[in-house]
């Protein structure tokens, strides 16, 4: 967890604020206890604790309060960090960069390079902003930041954006064919001759004429269902997909789709 790292990040601050060795030791011990958050959005914790330590050095705060505030910060900051930044912003930025790379192989480098620039710079700006916000306005600052509806609207909007792009990605990247066909020799009455090995039934074509790419869509929704409702692990899902792939390959060879 992040206990040690938090302690290290506080070390220069403590060095600055306290004079005697005993005080420094007390303060350091406070900050190497168990701590965890989403480390990028979590910079707000460092900001808030810096402010509190300063107040403590000036006699306006107690060590107990600092520790309990720190523990209280773990939940909300990791929730916001994980759901908004990690699980929403990163995938959306990635999907946009993916689309850029996919558009043309010659300029494929553009996607990764763009991500390498936008993500770190954006995150550093966010972390720095949140750190300052935490330091200046303390715990109240965070409450106002969280309670204004703005954050919810922003998440909703990002979700809509993400869903459309992910839908498009599913359609263009997930491939699944139903490799079943019936091959017969057909007597062509008009030409008066027997045409050999004609495909008279192609299951994949039939399925796709009902709804294009319906099989990849159903597969994706099945993965979603098993993962989120049945709590299957990604590894287990991977195994299932592997078995499916082997079975389909076998069927494909048996009916002559793959040669």
């Amino acid at each position: 967890m992040l206990g040690l790292a938090f302690g290290q990040s506080m070390a220069p601050v403590i060095d600055e604020l306290y004079d005697t060795k005993e005080e420094k030791s007390e303060a350091l011990k406070r900050h190497i206890t168990l701590f965890n958050t989403e480390a990028q959005v979590g910079s707000i914790c460092n900001g808030i604790v810096c402010g509190l330590e300063e107040a403590n050095a000036n006699g306006n705060c107690t060590p107990d309060l600092i520790s309990s505030v720190k523990v209280a910060l773990i939940g909300p900051t990791s929730a916001i960090g994980d759901s908004l930044w990690v699980a929403t912003f990163i995938p959306i930025l990635l999907t946009i960069c993916l689309s850029i790379s996919q558009a043309s192989l010659a300029t494929g480098w553009l996607g990764p390079v763009l991500y390498m620039l936008v993500y770190p710079i954006g995150t550093f700006m966010l972390s720095w902003y949140l750190f300052k916000l935490g330091y200046k306005s303390g715990i109240e600052g965070m409450q106002t930041f969280m309670s204004t509806g703005k954050l919810n609207y922003l998440t909703d909007t990002m979700t809509v954006l993400g869903l459309i792009v992910v839908g498009a990605l599913t359609a263009s990247f997930v491939t699944l064919k139903l490799p079943i066909q019936i091959v017969r020799d057909v007597y062509d009455a008009a030409a008066g001759q027997v045409l050999e090995n004609q495909v008279i039934f192609d299951a994949d074509k039939v399925v796709n004429s009902i709804f294009p790419n319906i099989l990849p869509l159903l597969l994706t929704l099945a993965v979603y269902y098993l993962y989120s409702k049945k709590k299957w692990s990604p590894l287990k899902l991977m195994g299932l997909i592997f078995v499916f792939a082997c079975v389909l390959t076998f069927i494909g060879y048996a009916t002559g789709v793959y040669v």
Binding site: M116, F173, V223
Partner: protein, 264 residues
């Protein structure tokens, strides 16, 4: 692979892992993303077009791999660097779908090694707390970086760099035995292609489980889907369209809320 290529890739495996010296923002969340990782491997091995193609496929497959609450489902850094390198080394003479299938398999192997190493490094990190406790008791603010930065990084480096070098070296040795494409039977490469195409559903399925918050959200997902299947738009075109829709959506919900405020 040349020795310098092995060393460089192994170094990036370490840099892209959780808690490397460059920090999670540049490391895990940037260098550790499959799209970026594949690009880096491509640069090192001199074939970035194939590498980016592999990167796109792996990125889609691992899109759902985020780390909620610190639980690492899969060591992405290992999986993608090893997966891309493996596919580039062994994939000569195979078509796109098969190369991607190969990358998926090697990524699986890499991810497994990574998982073991992750647990080992966690166990090795435990004594560090005691050292930190000692420095804290003594009030040594100047020495706090030793357990966290120096020792922690040494353990992280050893657990990633060394196994990666071993895996990459054995891959190089194996590829010297002959051309992979001519050695294995055709049905294996066919199955690899089928598997690679289906694996993309894993990433997409997991990511929509984060995004589906309300029942009607599936309709928005379907909208993106049919824009590609029925309207034949490219994903980039859909992304641009999605940004426009998102902005309109944001404006409409905020102005709706403002109106509601006025009424009350």
């Amino acid at each position: 692979m040349q020795i310098y290529q092995i060393v460089l890739i192994a170094l990036f495996v370490y840099l892209g892992s959780i808690g490397s010296i460059v920090g999670n923002t540049i490391g895990w969340y940037t260098l550790g993303r499959p799209l970026v990782a594949a690009f880096v491997v491509g640069l090192i091995m001199g074939d970035f077009q194939t590498a980016v193609m592999i990167g796109i496929a792996l990125q889609i497959m691992y899109m759902g791999n985020v780390t909620p609450g610190g639980a690492v489902a899969w060591d992405l850094s290992y999986a993608t660097y090893i997966g891309t390198a493996g596919a580039l080394v062994f994939g000569r003479g195979l078509d796109t779908a098969q190369v991607i299938g190969l990358a998926v398999v090697f990524a699986g192997i890499g991810g497994l090694v990574g998982q073991i190493m992750w647990n080992i490094s966690y166990a090795l990190n435990l004594p560090l707390n005691r050292i930190a406790q000692k420095y804290a008791e003594a009030g040594e603010t100047k020495k706090m970086f030793i357990p966290n930065l120096v020792l922690g990084q040494l353990i992280g480096f050893a657990c990633r760099f060394i196994p990666a070098v071993i895996v990459l070296t054995s891959m190089t040795a194996a590829s010297a035995q002959g051309d992979f494409a001519s050695l294995i039977p055709g049905w294996v490469t066919t199955a690899l292609g089928v598997f690679g195409g289906m694996m993309a559903s894993l990433g997409m399925g997991i990511i929509i489980s984060f995004l589906f918050k309300k029942k009607y959200h599936i309709v928005i997902f379907l909208a993106g889907f049919i824009l590609v299947t029925y309207f034949n738009l490219s994903t980039m075109a859909v992304a641009v369209l999605a940004i426009i829709i998102a902005i309109l959506y944001y404006v409409s919900i905020t102005s709706l809320e403002a109106k509601r405020g006025e009424v009350q």
